[in-house]
């Protein structure tokens, strides 16, 4: 079981709340047109995200997907430049060039979220490979969804990581749907069970709303990877509370009310708040934590609001390292 100090557990709750409140704000901003395009929230999946990122060390790498805000937040990225990025401001973590789908914060080991489903899995694999060649003790983790679990590149990467014994965690966020498509209708077999054929442990965390259960499973895999034991596949069963993306409206509801109510009754941030209170924290302390995080989110929005849009000309920077090659 998790061997965490109270302080660490408070930090876990703080990061989960950051995701919750950041994404709730982002959702509103999309609906009001303050954020262009759309965003995919991790609301409901906070335990799955933070349980995973918290099991990594500061210098460790990770890559992610379109459900993108939680990962860097969970890894400790400050909120201001993330929010500014969502809005398309020059102070965004990617200078406004990436947007929600393509957050990256190399300072915290976030090598990039990918709008293309499955596409960033080999990037994390390559980071694990460089760790191994350079022998620098870093571990890499790739986040991907239940839908992405049917992209072939996952199995190529698992095989490569298994063959080369790379320090790597393949982390499947099984929120049971890929857009409108229920996982069981397009997935043959069980995702975690696919690990065995690729010579690595496959762990399925059935209660992905319990952040400590997630942390334990991922930490075991991280420790194993760091010790030279090679890669693992960890599948975490969870649920997204919102629609696939903000603003999307489908005529058919593909999820039923009972299912939703059941998952809502096991809200990860509420569960862990209660756990912390059981551990001796007061209600006031927890309320204060929420208020602090809300202030952080407010500050992030204020930071974004106060930031300029990028100059037209910067669109032509950053493609190549040398300016001459660019058109």
């Amino acid at each position: 079981m998790a061997n965490l100090t109270l302080e660490e557990m408070i930090e876990i709750q703080r990061r989960m709340m950051r995701i919750r409140l950041f994404d709730e704000r982002a959702s509103k901003m999309v609906k009001r047109g303050h954020i262009p395009g759309t965003v995919h929230t991790s609301i409901g999946q906070e335990a799955q995200v933070v349980g995973s990122t918290f099991a990594l060390a500061d210098g460790d790498y990770m890559s992610g997907n379109h459900r993108s805000h939680g990962h860097p937040i969970g890894k400790g990225s400050p909120l201001g430049p993330l929010m500014a990025e969502l809005v398309g401001k020059a102070t965004g973590v990617c200078k406004g060039k990436g947007g929600s789908l393509h957050l990256a914060d190399f300072a915290v080991g976030s090598l990039g979220e990918s709008g293309i489903v499955g596409s960033s899995i080999p990037i994390a694999t390559g980071a694990a490979f460089s760790s191994k060649v350079l022998d620098n003790g870093k571990v890499a983790l790739a986040f991907f969804g239940d839908g992405a679990a049917n992209q072939g590149v996952l199995y190529e990467s698992m095989n490569l990581a298994g063959t080369w014994m790379l320090p790597m965690i393949f982390l499947c966020e099984n929120n049971q749907y890929a857009l409108s498509t229920p996982a069981h209708t397009v997935t043959s077999g069980v995702i975690a069970d696919r690990a065995a054929g690729f010579g690595m442990p496959g762990i399925r965390v059935e209660n992905g709303q319990d952040v400590l259960a997630v942390y334990d499973a991922v930490k075991t895999a991280v420790d194993r990877a760091r010790a030279g034991g090679g890669p693992s596949l960890v599948e975490i069963v969870t649920y997204r509370y919102n629609e696939h993306s903000e603003g999307l409206r489908l005529a058919n509801d593909y999820r039923n009310a009972e299912e939703r109510a059941d998952w809502l009754s096991r809200d990860p941030v509420v569960l862990f708040r209660d756990h912390l209170i059981a551990q001796g924290m007061t209600v006031e302390q927890m309320d204060q934590l929420d208020a602090d995080v809300l202030a952080e989110v407010d500050a992030a929005v204020a930071f974004s609001d106060a930031s300029p849009y990028p100059e037209l000309s910067v669109a032509f920077d950053d493609l190549y390292t040398d300016k001459e090659t660019a058109a």
């Binding site: 395009g37 990436g98 072939g152 409108s180 498509t181 397009v186 489908l250 849009y309 669109a315 058109a327």
Partner: protein, 346 residues
């Protein structure tokens, strides 16, 4: 006739094709729930008229997110008796299946000496201009033009979207259709009866005598606006919409240039090795003596697409940049700085 959107016209054509031939099936991610709006009631996202109810799950197939297997399986199915329409949603997901497109779909019939035919349609949408960032904004049709064996269609209006899709489904060769999302909302009167627009026949979107503009996909409406603007200055612009890029109606383009002596090519793809390069190179090779001025390309720059709206808006041909190119080849003075500034900040 009835008013249809571009998206609605695609839905209508799919319905007609499914009704006409039992071998036609639709497969893709989230097609059962009509997430992308072309497997529903024919107008927009809607539950009634739902294709899944109408045709059943044998013919309307949600696929896993496995583009490579999906494209290859559609090819294999086409070789053995089905006529699949594959909905690949965004054009930038085509890369996942590039091996299947090039090494199987395009080469198969030729390599096997004509034993197989490959009646399969791949639809995908170019989401450029909608602040979706670099991963979702691609316009990759030029790279497929370099692959012999594929047919490539890029409709610019609802009527063409409907009529070309019917011809694509009836073709015994593989067809890739690139739809521009910025056109999805376009509406016009479309024949609700069946009709087919042949592949390989360009459309003169606006006749003219002084300058030819060949415009592709989402650049067609912009070119038409530019032509209107120039008409006010007495320049008569002929706008040609090739509609299909392979086969390309090269004769129609050359005919026009022989008449006007001046050519601008506008397209939303990246510049280097784009369709505009091909059209320019072809015309200079075949109609050199008719040319009175350089051929000017108006394209996206060789730059990936930034997310920020403030950056993205300058990336694609607009009425203003096309007009500027027309002015250049017509030998007119550039528009006033004011007009150009207005253009950039519109």
């Amino acid at each position: 006739m009835s008013v249809m959107s571009y998206l609605g016209a695609i839905g209508a054509a799919q319905r007609e094709a499914m009704d006409a031939d039992e071998r036609v099936i639709i497969m893709g991610e989230d097609v059962e729930a009509n997430v992308y709006g072309t497997t529903g009631g024919g107008k927009s996202r809607s539950a009634e008229g739902d294709f899944t109810q109408r045709y059943g799950k044998n013919r309307i197939r949600n696929t896993p997110i496995s583009e490579e297997a999906m494209v290859g399986a559609a090819a294999g199915a086409a070789m053995t008796g089905l006529r699949p329409i594959v909905d690949l949603s965004y054009s930038s997901f085509l890369y996942m299946a590039m091996d299947q497109f090039i090494n199987q779909v395009a080469k198969n019939r030729y390599m096997f000496g004509g034993q197989a035919s490959m009646p399969v349609v791949f639809r995908s949408a170019m989401f450029y201009g909608l602040n979706t960032g670099a991963h979702h904004s691609d316009r990759p049709y030029p790279m497929f033009m370099n692959v012999p064996g594929l047919k490539i269609v890029a409709p610019s209006n609802p009527t063409d979207a409907k009529g070309l899709l019917r011809s694509a489904v009836d073709s015994d060769d593989p067809v890739l259709i690139f739809e521009a999302c910025i056109l999805w909302g376009t509406k016009e009167e479309v024949d609700e009866n069946e009709f087919w627009i042949p592949l390989g026949v360009a459309r003169i979107a606006r006749p003219g005598t002084d300058v030819t503009v060949v415009a592709i996909s989402g650049s067609v409406p912009e070119a038409l606006l530019a032509a209107e603007d120039l008409a006010l200055e007495g320049v008569s612009v002929e706008v040609i919409d090739p509609r299909t890029l392979v086969p390309l109606d090269r004769n129609a383009i050359v005919r026009s240039v022989v008449k006007t002596g001046r050519l601008v090519v506008a397209e939303p793809a990246h510049r280097t090795c784009g369709a505009a390069a091909e059209i320019s190179a072809y015309v200079v090779e075949e109609a050199f003596d008719s040319l009175k001025a350089p051929i000017v390309r108006v394209t996206a720059p060789d730059m990936q697409i930034p997310f920020s709206p403030s950056l993205e808006k300058q990336m694609y041909p607009t009425r203003f940049t096309i007009a500027a190119a027309i002015r250049r080849v017509a030998g007119l003075a550039p528009a006033s700085e004011q007009t150009l500034l207005a253009a950039l900040h519109n």
